[in-house]
């Protein structure tokens, strides 16, 4: 199934399994969602579990928090992750601090359709996960595969904390994959070695993971065996997996679609510098999008984002260092 279908199946199976789980968001009921994820849900679960909400991100996230306070398991869909700015207080002040202040759980999931290569421009393409990685009390996940799209959504819904689930729009119909049936939970906080290698470690997540894998294939034709680590969870980061791969290969290339400065890659680079310095045989290298808003023109966006050839070039250069 596709990544999009995996999200739908995970949502549907959780709603069947647990009556506390419900979805809330704009255009998700009658219309089935801007991307069609919740198509058919209204008929199956009814209007009090599939809630067509006003155009009102602060209210929708706030209402999700309120329902979670009461022990429900809301999954609030932000139509585009970019619109979370309108709900910022609810996410970073109300939700993130809730357990710290009260000792009570807040089992809330925010579905965050994010990322570029969808010709979406500056307000429908952003990768703002680092805002939330900088916010203690939240968890942040970003699946790259259909299997993890399912597994991380199950984990997010079952987690007693607010989880921001960054689902990449370009991956929705990117390819078909085998996804395990039934209970397939990807634990939050565990990275995955997507490709084994010895020459260097390429650390990425989301849509860029696939570009990194293609770049690693290209480098392999030159005899360079790159290891590719899919972070999957950004908060908490899988420190052991990051340090493990770097200690194994001695070199680290970090690639993400989010803009470069103070992105998640900066945290990964700092972690490696602090904890794996003596294993390093070369500089820690970052490839990320330009420090600009996301351009609308496909030509400009191609120049904005890291591309496969660029990643392959960085792999070759770092391998040769």
């Amino acid at each position: 199934m596709t990544y999009l279908e995996a999200i739908r199946e995970a949502l549907r199976s959780e709603m069947r399994r647990d009556p506390r789980v419900f979805v809330l968001g704009e255009d998700i009921g009658v219309h089935g969602g801007a991307f069609g994820i919740t198509k058919g849900f209204l008929d199956e679960f009814g209007p009090w579990r599939v809630i067509d909400a006003p155009l009102s991100e602060a209210a929708n996230v706030g209402a999700g928090i309120g329902a979670a306070v009461m022990g429900m398991r809301p999954v609030v869909e932000l139509q585009f992750a970019d619109f979370v700015t309108d709900a910022f207080t609810q996410v970073v002040n109300m939700a993130a601090t809730f357990h710290w202040r009260t000792g009570c759980p807040l089992p809330l999931v925010l579905r965050m359709p994010y990322g570029g290569d969808v010709k979406g421009g500056p307000f429908h393409s952003q990768c703002k996960e680092a805002w939330f990685v900088h916010t203690p009390g939240l968890k942040v996940v970003a699946p790259a595969t259909a299997g993890d799209a399912k597994g991380l959504l199950l984990a997010a819904i079952r987690d007693p904390n607010p989880v921001l689930y960054f689902e990449h729009k370009h991956l929705y119909r990117y390819r078909r994959e085998e996804v395990p049936d039934g209970e397939h939970v990807t634990p939050i906080g565990r990275a995955h070695v997507a490709r084994e290698g010895t020459a260097l470690s390429v650390i990425s997540y989301g849509w860029m993971l696939h570009k990194c894998l293609a770049a690693a294939d290209a480098a392999a034709r030159d005899g360079i065996a790159a290891e590719v680590l899919d972070l999957r969870s950004l908060l908490p980061l899988d420190r052991d997996a990051i340090l493990g791969t770097v200690r194994k290969t001695g070199k680290a290339l970090i690639v993400h679609e989010a803009t470069r400065t103070a992105g998640v890659g900066a945290e990964v680079a700092a972690l490696i510098a602090e904890e794996a310095f003596e294993s390093l045989d070369g500089p820690v290298v970052r490839l990320a999008s330009e420090d600009t808003p996301v351009p609308h023109s496909p030509v400009l966006e191609a120049a904005f984002q890291p591309q496969v050839e660029e990643i392959a070039g960085a792999i070759r250069a770092l391998a040769a260092y």
Partner: protein, 335 residues
């Protein structure tokens, strides 16, 4: 859907014991805050301190309209509401003192407290942020078929925020069982009402959301109670939210660090003559509900409770520094 002026006739339905209980909570709020102001000026309360002087009739009148299973999303001038819904005075003092025994165990301060286990949403500094959350609490009750009502408080300044608009609109669209109590105390910090809104009256905002609005004398506890009782009943019956504008005056600074020179003294004097506790005491005395003996007994009980509560709080330890990293995340219970 029109704006109506409520009266305090509903007081007739209250028993003498209930009337005295309302007075008790109004006085208890004032007594705790009076004691805490002294602590603040002695430098014993870390950070800022906020009181609800002048708001006691709103906190008590509205909260008294709730049933046992109902829910509360209060703000920072409603101390009595917290007390009435089960938070003990000793934990309030421990909260003010940033002690382990406080509601947030030193993680947050002053009246930023609550207890979800008691159905009380803790308040945060972002005005009206509780309003959409209150709507969500009501949504959960509606989803489960529970006839519970959520009472939420906010100030005049809060009505200028997007969160307020969005929360009220959301509750109205879904006809959720929420009662919206606006504590119009004329000033948001130093900002007077005419710099807050161009509306003739804040209650006039209600028709814009398709909900009823009612304006009451916020210094008349029975008027507030009557309006809240009607709104709670309407919410419980599936009629959706009601906006209750309670008109009062903030009788001290925004916080105790604020000397509020921007408020005309004659305005304060006029409102001081209508102190909500004094008004209610006079009424109860005239009606024979508050005898000199009952009055003395209540005052004595409150004084003792305040001192015992403070002693308990002062004996509560400071939070352990080594615990600073604890509690950011909830551990999964596997359910």
């Amino acid at each position: 859907m029109s704006t109506i002026e409520a009266t305090s006739r509903a007081g007739d339905a209250l028993t003498p014991g209930e009337l005295l209980e309302m007075l008790y909570y109004m006085r208890l709020q004032r007594a705790i805050e009076d004691r805490a102001i002294k602590l603040y000026y002695q430098g014993r309360i870390p950070g800022a301190y906020f009181t609800g002087w002048g708001h006691e009739a709103i906190a008590v009148g509205a909260t008294y309209a709730l049933g046992p299973a109902d829910l509360l999303a209060p703000m920072h001038r409603d101390l009595a509401a917290y007390l009435m819904r089960g938070i003990p005075a000793r934990r309030v003092f421990a909260q003010f003192l940033d002690r382990e025994g406080g509601l947030t165990r030193g993680r947050d301060g002053n009246i930023h407290m609550g207890d979800p286990r008691l159905g009380i949403l803790p308040f945060i500094s972002h005005m009206a942020a509780s309003v959409p959350v209150a709507a969500g609490m009501a949504l959960a009750c509606r989803q489960r078929g529970q006839a519970r009502v959520v009472l939420t408080f906010f100030g005049d300044g809060a009505t200028s925020t997007g969160a307020w608009h969005e929360g009220v609109n959301f509750a109205a669209v879904l006809r959720l069982p929420v009662v919206l109590v606006l504590e119009n105390n004329q000033y948001a910090y130093s900002t007077p009402l005419d710099r807050q809104t161009a509306a003739r009256a804040l209650v006039d905002k209600a028709p814009g959301y398709g909900i009823p609005g009612v304006a009451v004398d916020g210094n008349d506890v029975l008027a507030v109670y009557a309006a809240a009782r009607a709104a709670v009943a309407r919410a419980r019956d599936g009629g959706g939210p009601t906006l209750i504008e309670c008109r009062t005056m903030r009788m001290r600074g925004h916080s105790e660090a604020d000397h509020f020179a921007y408020v005309p003294r004659e305005l304060l004097a006029a409102w001081a003559a209508r102190d909500p506790i004094a008004l209610f005491e006079r009424r109860l005395r005239e009606e024979g509900q508050l005898t000199a003996e009952a009055d003395r007994a209540m005052q004595g009980r409150i004084a003792q409770e305040v001192e015992e509560a403070l002693a308990w709080a002062e004996a509560s330890p400071e939070p352990a520094p080594a615990s600073v990293a604890e509690g950011v995340y909830a551990a999964s219970d596997g359910r």
